[in-house]
């Protein structure tokens, strides 16, 4: 069991969702073995926050990066929390992960693998096909600035 999920289990549903997104993002960024400053800045850019919340978000990102639970488990929990009927939101999270993967202009195999795992776990794609995932991500290209 993930200690991180247990830590924030008493928070509001909306807060937990944001924490889960942060954890997923952190785990995706650390997948290639290096969590760069560019990636961190991009996450903070995507997650709209106030100045006073910045340090808290960074702490959660660090916790997420340090967490050893597989990304699949986090994705499963998040889907359970959001519910399968909120498909647009799940697709939006996939788009966020895609954006983070391409932010450093290099999409590593580990990152691609993690996105596919999350997408399959969310149920937005049936097979781990990157083409489909890209199509989903492009739905939000305007909002997330995906090229």
């Amino acid at each position: 069991m993930s200690q991180l999920w247990d830590k924030y289990s008493r928070a509001d549903k909306q807060t937990i969702v944001i924490i889960a997104v942060l954890i997923l993002s952190a785990k995706l960024c650390i997948a290639d073995g290096h969590f760069s400053q560019v990636e961190e800045d991009e996450i903070l850019k995507i997650i709209p926050h106030e100045k006073y919340q910045r340090s808290l978000l960074i702490d959660i990102l660090e916790e997420g990066a340090a967490d050893k639970t597989p990304i699949q488990e986090d994705a499963r929990r998040l889907k359970k929390l959001i519910g399968p009927q909120n498909k647009p939101f799940l697709e939006f999270i996939i788009a966020v992960l895609y954006r983070l993967a391409e932010v450093d202009h290099v999409m590593s195999e580990e990152e691609l693998r993690d996105i596919q795992i999350v997408a399959v776990e969310f149920g937005v794609v049936r097979a781990p096909l990157m083409k489909q995932i890209r199509t989903i991500a492009l739905k939000f290209k305007k909002k997330l600035n995906i090229v």
Binding site: A11, D12, Q14, T15, I47, L56, P88, F89
Partner: protein, 534 residues
């Protein structure tokens, strides 16, 4: 505890409004399905009613009478149509082009109108069913009131009759005055004809003038004769009788002249008479024509008068006299009907007060009826005094308005749901509302400018005005006298300053150093003092 709810709302704003939008869409569907069910029920009701009516009329169920099935199916289609409202609203909301928007809007209006009709039909059915019981009693009351009206109170009837008789007599008087007018016209026409003829014959005029002249001549002869006669009588001394003879001869001449003159006058008069006789004979047909015409018109009017008298005036007068005779029996009848009306009124009030529509109609009559429709309502008005118009007005005000709301609310709720589920809404919401290049901004700015202008105008008008006037005043001018003072002259006085200069003074010092002792001083070496002064 960590709270990142605000982040979530900004991160995915659709999530906050989308569930509510979804709920609204479900609600819209619920409304539309219910309305569709109303349509289906009316369709079923129409088929059932048709069957019953056919059964009543022919006392056997005939399968060939399909008219009611057709009507039923028509209402079934109306019910189905209700279900297209939300898809149409969605199409209108997401339509990209204006002409598509217009088309969908027209379609939506048509469907809403159909809903309105369906709901009104439903309300009307219940309205009729509910009013049926009261209407039976109301009809009885109306009948009694009509009966009372026909009998009326004798005084009112008598007054009415006398008024009518007066009117008829006025009519007859008018006709009589018309006859006299025709007579006057006839006389005028005849006299005009005579005048016209007289002026038309110039020969008669000339003869008349000649006659006048001849008469004057005749008179002058006569005057002369009388003068001669007087002269004859006044002769006193005429011995020879010559004078008298001459006068007599003169008189005889004058008499001859008179005779011839009289003859001439008679001839002229005969001529005039002849001319006048001819004219009169010429005018006779014209005169006859005028007289005949006026006689025909007068006869027509007289016939009219006799007809009016026989058909209108006499029956009214007879009725009036009959009323006067039957006054007592009529009063008894009226009293009896009045009692029946009072009893029936109580029954109507009793039944109508338990009816919602009557209560509403009464409330509307007392409330909005007075406020908005300028109706004068007496204080003791009850359900029995309400007319059919009042009840219909209440129906349209209450149920019509309700039907209108029901017809549009489904669409409006669907629109609200679609709007909440729309992601564009959040983008639009975050945009600044008023941009400087928009009409709204300029319009609002105009008000601000007007406000400022008015404010400045008020302050400028309220501010006390300063009027500049040249007032001549005697001012004592004080001439300043020059004051001569001694001028202070500053002179430069050199003050001696103490200057300290450094000089090297040779001071012999006692030493035992052999090097120094053995050192010889070069007399040419003289140390120069430095120029710099510290």
């Amino acid at each position: 505890m960590v709270n990142l709810n605000n982040i979530f709302n900004k991160f995915y704003p659709k999530a906050t409004t989308s569930p509510a939008g979804k709920k609204l869409i479900y609600m819209a569907w619920a409304i539309e399905i219910t309305v569709a069910m109303v349509g289906f029920t009316i369709a079923y009701f129409m088929v059932q009613l048709g069957r019953e009516e056919t059964l009543k009329a022919t006392s056997q169920e005939t399968s060939s009478n399909v008219e009611y099935y057709i009507i039923g199916l028509a209402f079934f289609v109306v019910g189905l149509m209700e279900l297209t409202k939300i898809p149409l609203a969605t199409a209108l909301y997401y339509a990209a082009r204006t002409y598509w928007k217009i088309i969908f809007f027209i379609a939506l209006i048509a469907v809403n109108f159909s809903t309105f009709e369906t709901i009104i039909q439903g309300f009307e059915l219940s309205y009729n069913k509910r009013l049926e019981v009261v209407n039976i009693e109301r009809n009885k009351l109306e009948k009694l009131r009509d009966e009372l009206k026909t009998l009326g109170t004798p005084e009112i009837l008598e007054n009415k009759l006398s008024q009518e008789i007066n009117e008829i007599q006025d009519k007859i008087n008018n006709l009589n005055s018309e006859i006299s007018k025709i007579k006057i016209e006839e006389n005028n026409a005849l006299s005009q004809l005579e005048n016209e003829n007289a002026t038309a014959n110039p020969k008669k005029d000339a003869l008349e003038k000649k006659l006048e002249r001849e008469l004057n001549t005749l008179n002058s002869y006569r005057d002369e004769k009388s003068k001669q006669l007087l002269a004859l009588q006044s002769i006193k001394s005429d011995f020879t009788g010559r004078k008298r003879r001459a006068i007599r001869e003169e008189i005889a001449n004058i008499e001859e002249n008179i005779k011839s003159q009289q003859k001439l006058i008679r001839n002229i008069e005969d001529k005039i008479e002849n001319i006048s006789g001819n004219i009169q004979s010429q005018n006779i047909p014209k005169i006859n024509k005028i007289k005949n015409e006026s006689t025909i018109r007068i006869n027509e009017i007289r016939n009219q008068i006799t007809r009016i008298t026989n058909t209108e005036l006499n029956p009214k007068q007879n009725e009036k006299s009959r009323l006067a005779e039957n006054e007592t029996s009529n009063n008894e009848k009226i009293e009896n009907i009045q009692k029946q009306i009072d009893e029936q009124r109580k029954i109507v009030i009793d039944k109508a007060s338990s009816n919602q529509i009557y209560r509403l109609a009464l409330m509307i009559k007392i409330g909005p009826g007075q406020w908005f429709f300028d109706e004068e309502v007496s204080e003791d008005i009850s359900e029995a005094e309400l007319t059919k118009e009042d009840i219909d007005k209440a129906f349209w005000l209450w149920f019509g308005f309700l039907a209108f709301i029901i017809s549009i609310i489904g669409t409006l709720v669907a629109f609200a749901g679609l709007h909440l589920m729309d992601e564009r809404m959040h983008e639009i919401r975050n945009k600044p509302i008023i941009r400087k290049n928009t009409f709204f901004y300029r319009f609002s700015k105009m008000f601000v400018l007007i406000n400022r202008y008015l404010a400045s105008l008020i302050t400028s008008t309220l501010k006390p005005k300063t009027i500049e006037k040249i007032v001549e005043k005697k001012v004592k001018v004080e001439v300043e006298k020059p004051v001569y003072e001694e001028k202070i002259v500053y002179q430069k006085v050199e003050v001696p300053k103490e200057v300290t200069r450094k000089e090297i003074v040779h001071v012999p010092l006692w030493t035992q150093d052999p090097d120094l002792l053995s050192k010889q001083i070069d007399p040419s070496f003289v140390e120069k003092p430095s120029k710099k002064k510290k």
